[in-house]
């Protein structure tokens, strides 16, 4: 038996952690996977040590453009924990609102991309059309469609007024109706069913031992969500459900995200209804006391953890950040192993590695030593059509 090596990536710079997967193939089946990441290693951890705490907020926000709110949120929370600083309650609620808006936009983005991967471009276009409404709300609250610059040390950067609240609520009400339709599509549509049910199985035991996070582990039926287990911002006071599905496949992971959008809509509405009065920001010192802190938030893709060590002064001594995609890479390898090559894109996208659909492939045929490049979509067309 000869196996063929198939190299996925690394030409996927859209990720902050672009991966390369070397797949060992036996015909159509994937026998083994070896990940290799870090192709766009920018050196943020080192740069953060050389900049002040204030500058770091914006540096760290740009680790990932999609879940930028989660990155800045976990950073400011960790620095505030280091200092033993309490933010005003209104700021905690506003952080929660923007964090959830970020989650909705991220989930809709992924579900749309998944639609495109299925060859279901209509779903992609419709989901992205409705995503624009969320972007409008984010823009009106934070001043930019994507990078929010909303969380700052000591609170939030800007307040919301009554017109923004009513606009946000209107958008959420509309989105809930749309999401009911999309849930039906994901639950019942034959295209979705055929492409994702039973694809990329991740058993609960492997999900636990490989330390998977976020929708990936919840799609394997394990009920864990940092918003409930390790509450931060205003999550301790807001009721919501932790979504789990127990079919362990890619479909379960997509459904977790669909249902989480409903929960996020509920959280935003509750938070806007119960918004406390008072200041949005307290004065935060430029110099932070000595010590260390570990902060974690549930980013759209799962647990995001920061560890900051301070030796006093206005710069962190050590800044460590672990993003959720890194935690899920081993789980993705587990999903791919044993499956067919045509299922690789769907399994990979079910961990939400930002944009795996745009991943390019370099195929090396070992026997001939030839090398040529193709996009996953072209490859899928080729492999999909031959069966």
């Amino acid at each position: 038996m000869t196996t063929t090596d198939l190299i996925i990536g690394p030409q996927h710079p859209a990720l902050h952690e672009p991966e390369r997967f070397v797949l060992k193939l036996d015909g159509e089946y994937v026998v083994d996977v070896v990940p290799r990441i870090g192709y766009v290693h920018r050196g943020i951890e080192k740069a953060a040590e050389l900049r002040s705490y204030i500058q770091d907020v914006y540096l760290i926000e740009r680790i990932c453009g999609i879940c930028n709110v989660s990155h800045s949120l976990v950073y400011v929370q960790t620095v505030e924990a280091l200092q033993g600083f309490e933010i005003p309650p209104r700021a905690a609620y506003l952080r929660t609102v923007v964090h959830e808006l970020n989650r909705i936009h991220s989930h809709l983005l992924l579900l749309g991309v998944v639609g495109e991967l299925f060859g279901f471009d209509t779903l992609f276009m419709y989901l992205w059309r409705d995503r624009e409404l969320v972007m409008d709300v984010v823009e009106s609250i934070t001043g930019n469609r994507l990078i929010s610059a909303f969380n700052v040390l000591g609170g939030v950067a800007r307040d919301v007024g009554p017109s923004q609240i009513s606009e946000a609520k209107r958008a959420m009400e509309y989105l809930r109706g749309r999401m009911k339709f999309y849930k039906k599509v994901f639950a019942e549509d034959p295209t979705v069913e055929k492409r994702s049910k039973g694809v990329g199985i991740l058993k609960p035991s492997s999900a636990l031992s490989l330390c998977a996070v976020g929708p990936v582990i919840r799609g394997s039926g394990i009920k864990t969500d940092l918003r409930a287990d390790d509450p931060y911002a205003a999550y301790g006071e807001i009721p919501f459900n932790v979504i789990t599905y127990d079919t362990n496949d890619s479909w379960a992971r997509f459904m977790v995200r669909v249902d989480e959008v409903f929960e996020s809509i509920g959280i935003i509405e509750y938070a806007l209804d119960h918004l406390p009065d008072g200041p949005i920001r307290a004065r935060f010192p430029r110099r932070v006391r000595e010590g260390e802190a570990v902060g974690r938030v549930e980013a759209p893709r799962g647990e995001l953890i920061n560890h900051i060590i301070s030796k006093g002064g206005d710069k962190p001594y050590r800044f460590k950040c672990r993003t959720p995609t890194l935690a899920n890479i081993l789980a993705a390898c587990e999903m791919i192993r044993g499956g067919q090559i045509a299922d690789v894109p769907v399994s990979l996208s079910s961990i939400d590695p930002c944009f795996s659909c745009e991943d390019r492939l370099a195929i090396i045929d070992v026997s001939k030593g030839e090398r040529y490049s193709a996009r996953i979509r072209d490859l899928m067309a080729k492999y999909g059509a031959s069966r």
């Binding site: 870090g38 924990a81 031992s209 330390c211 260390e292 802190a293 560890h307």
Partner: protein, 154 residues
Amino acid sequence: MSAGMGEADFLEALKSKLGDKILRASVMGPRRVAITVKPGDHRIAIEALKAFGGSHVSTITGTDMGESIEIAYHVWCYQAKIEASIKAEVPKSSPSIETISDLIPGSMLYEAEARDLLGIEFKGLPYEGRLILPEDWPEGVYPLRKDWKPDWLR
């Protein structure tokens, strides 16, 4: 899942299991504890955390402390609902420690990452080669060490 336990109770329970293997222990904040052990004992400590549901390695931080490198394993205990940071210090001249990837396979990439960026050797780590740094990165240069500071970096 259970409601979790307090930080002080957690430390008490852990001390009764590990005894004098714990060099230092402290509560960092709500649901955060830090325990320092000797390198080598860290495997026993992580094994002990499994009684509290501690099967999830969140990440591994390596920090250049000047003379030594501090390795912190952040383990989330699902039942106790505590994020325990197990720390061990290894000398910077020969940074070497046993892997925990046989106890918790999910820690493999974090160990490989720390090896790339700080040059810590994890004995028994199955992942070979570079994980994060480019292939043409010079051998023996570890960007997160404090003494690596080229003049163009600011």
